[in-house]
């Protein structure tokens, strides 16, 4: 296996390419552009035999892959931020129709004010859409996750769309050594897509019927049940991947020095890397600190998180999104993990890195310092004092 020094976006595009998608449709938006530009090159060069549809909006990009997926094709799209928000209506629709579309959500802040930099507000707004959401820590994982995504989505017992979330610029535009997946390896890992139901005159089915109060709830119930079932499938696929490629980035979660830790930081995405460095630094000084990565945000792996953190005294949840009017989003879900359990650790929530605000070693040190103080759900870390004027 050889390692290539490559931009995150290009690695992802190459992985999507070896997944043999039949149809790709996307609309350009920074910082998703390099992924779709490279895919269109691969198609133009005949390296990827797919139909690439240059649509007039993200709404149509999602609608095209919806139509293609319902016709029996393996499909892919990618977007971020405003494009993601424009797609949301279709995203719910894709999940409701149980179409195993795979997409990349490059994570970026949402407008207003317009801001092209990284946070995770965009994908968090679609957490209730019925899409499986996996968050990548680094470019190796982002690349590998796409191969896993198709296998999870197309599993006969799942048939739900999967969204790979990767931090904009931080991952998409950074050059890293990545072990790329060859065509032969991908073919060995991912069987061809053979859906049970699809649009064909040979068996004229109706997709997208109108369902009233007598049946609608059951469609939600089935998706919810399937989401739970997908916990096992996501883990299994990560294990299969480990077996074939020797790489393991976690199944539903990943932990780093958590076993004997008294304080654990919980986060999603590329910030995990920064936190790991701090953990090493503090460990060297004798502090029992660890980090837990939520890899699968939907479905939310409550049991795995509880198992990993039940012994911990303090938890600091750091997140790059906010539910305005409440505070942190992930922090609440972590709190709910401990509801009704014999012991609840002190859980603090920190909102940081919004709109690309730098997250430095100091930011993480500040989080750890604040955790020693009173519990809070909405502590903003890294604010510019000059701009808030003491407010």
């Amino acid at each position: 296996m050889s390692t290539t020094f490559i931009e995150g976006s290009i690695a992802v595009a190459k992985t999507v390419g070896v997944c043999r998608p039949h149809v790709i449709s996307a609309y350009p938006i920074t910082p998703q552009t390099h992924i779709v530009e490279h895919l269109s090159e691969l198609v133009a060069d005949g390296e990827v035999k797919a139909e690439y549809v240059n649509v007039e909006s993200e709404h149509s990009a999602a609608s095209v892959v919806l139509g293609s997926s319902a016709t029996g094709a393996r499909t892919y799209t990618a977007t971020t931020s405003q494009g993601f928000l424009l797609m949301i209506e279709v995203l719910f629709n894709i999940a409701g129709m149980r179409l195993p579309v795979v997409m990349t959500c490059v994570n970026r802040a949402v407008s207003a004010p317009i801001n092209i930099w990284n946070d995770q507000q965009d994908s968090m707004t679609a957490r209730d859409s019925g899409w499986i959401q996996l968050y990548a820590e680094d470019n190796q994982e982002a690349s590998d996750m796409h191969l896993q995504a198709f296998k999870i989505a197309e599993n006969k017992d799942i048939m739900l769309p999967v969204m790979i979330c990767m931090d904009g610029f931080v991952l998409t535009h950074s050059f890293d050594p990545v072990e790329l997946i060859s065509q032969e390896q991908a073919d060995k890992f991912l069987p061809p897509f053979k859906p049970e139901y699809y649009l064909t005159p040979k068996n004229p089915l109706t997709f997208g019927a109108m369902v009233g109060p007598d049946g609608y709830m059951e469609t939600r119930y089935f998706i919810e049940k399937t989401m739970h079932a997908s916990l096992q499938v996501i883990s299994n696929v990560a294990t299969d991947f480990h077996n074939q490629f020797g790489r393991f980035q976690g199944g539903l979660i990943d932990t780093y020095k958590v076993e004997d830790a008294s304080l654990v930081l919980v986060a999603m995405g590329s910030i995990i890397g920064t936190i790991k460095d701090i953990v090493d630094e503090l460990r060297a000084k004798g502090q029992k600190v660890g980090v837990l990565k939520v890899r699968s945000y939907r479905p939310f792996p409550k049991d795995e998180i509880y198992k990993a953190l039940s012994h911990v005294k303090e938890i600091a949840v750091v997140e790059k999104a906010v539910s305005l009017g409440y505070g942190g989003i992930l922090v609440n879900e972590i709190k709910s993990v401990f509801y009704g359990k014999p012991k609840t650790p002190k859980i603090n929530g920190f909102i940081l890195g919004l709109g690309g605000r730098d997250i430095t070693a100091d930011t993480i040190h500040q989080v750890i310092k604040e955790t020693a103080k009173a519990a809070s759900e909405e502590k903003f870390v890294g604010l510019n004092e000059a701009l808030i004027g003491g407010k």
């Binding site: 149509s60 629709n93 040979k202 068996n203 004229p204 997208g208």
Partner: protein, 304 residues
């Protein structure tokens, strides 16, 4: 995982849009869709936008569609159809089916115009059919971009300061034709054979095709259900709904209006949506404006 797919009960029907659906009596849209499917045959895949047609044909657990059918959202029928078409190509199944996209006037000319424009511009091999009943019927008769001038709807009511819809009907066929597509046609449920011929002709042409079918809605137009065909015929005979074909940008065929010409009153007076025009002397001036619209159509397309 079979909960989102339905099939129509075959034994009950001999048409491709099975009876038993819940359209109102005299619904022009139901008739138009049945004619389109009849002409297209079984080797098709159809998409549809949210709207009356989708609602009255797909009430779970039944479906009237004897052909593969997908409804996604209100504004994306053309984009979903594009997805179907490219998937057939990518899967090497392009000979399996022709793709027909459908939508109401709202789903086509208003909220779905962008997706439709994209589809036409990209050259997909798709026939797009707009069932034009001249308002948002499914949500209770609100005005659309294809609602005619001075027409009363629930969002363009007549009142002290209003004669109904202030705007002229959007020239959707010209917008479609401006994309440089090979075939654009208008049709009317008053002329079923014409619909069938146009659908067959459209499907014999490769590339994007646009068809707009005038489909009276007795509920929204407040016309008698038994008069649907007559109402539709008068729209054509007066020149208010010009019937034509545009092939590669040129008008190639039109349906002539009657001689002597039928005054627009004949069409307007049998519909409650124009009743306010007949209630005061000032209404006469408004009717005159509508007559001028018909006259312009007759002139523009050479219908006399």
């Amino acid at each position: 995982m079979s909960t989102t797919t339905l099939t129509a009960p075959k034994e009950q029907s001999c048409t491709l849009l099975a009876p038993g659906h819940t359209a109102c009596t005299g619904c022009g849209e139901a008739l138009a869709a049945k004619l389109v499917l009849g002409a297209a045959g079984t080797n098709i895949i159809v998409t549809d936008a949210t709207g009356c047609l989708e609602v009255f044909t797909t009430k779970f657990p039944q479906s009237s569609w004897e052909v593969p059918f997908i409804h996604s959202l209100f504004e994306n029928s053309a984009a979903v159809a594009a997805g179907v078409e490219v998937a057939l190509k990518a899967l090497g199944r392009q000979n399996e089916a022709k793709v027909i996209a459908q939508g109401g006037d709202g789903g086509t000319a208003d909220i779905g115009l962008q997706a439709l424009s994209g589809m036409l511009e990209r050259g997909h091999d798709i026939l797009y059919v707009c069932y034009d009943n001249e308002a948002y019927m499914n949500t209770g008769v609100q005005r659309s971009g294809l609602t005619p001038f001075d027409c009363m709807t629930t969002t363009s009511p007549c009142g002290e300061l209003s004669w109904g819809n202030k705007h002229n009907k959007k020239d959707m066929p010209s917008i479609a034709a401006a994309h440089g597509i090979p075939y654009v046609a208008t049709a009317s449920v008053a002329f079923p054979k014409d619909i069938e011929n146009k659908v067959k002709k459209a499907l014999s042409i490769t590339g994007p095709k646009y068809m707009q079918i005038h489909s009276p809605c007795p509920l929204g137009w407040r016309s008698k259900p038994q008069l649907t065909i007559q109402v539709a015929k008068l729209a054509v005979q007066t020149g208010l709904y010009p019937i034509f074909e545009i092939e590669n940008g040129k008008v190639t065929k039109v349906r002539k209006v009657t001689t002597p010409k039928t005054p627009v009153e004949e069409y307007l007076k049998i519909q409650g949506r124009f009743a306010h025009l007949f209630k005061s002397p000032k209404g006469k001036e408004e009717i005159q404006k509508i007559q001028e619209i018909a006259d312009r159509n007759i002139e523009k397309y050479g219908l006399a």
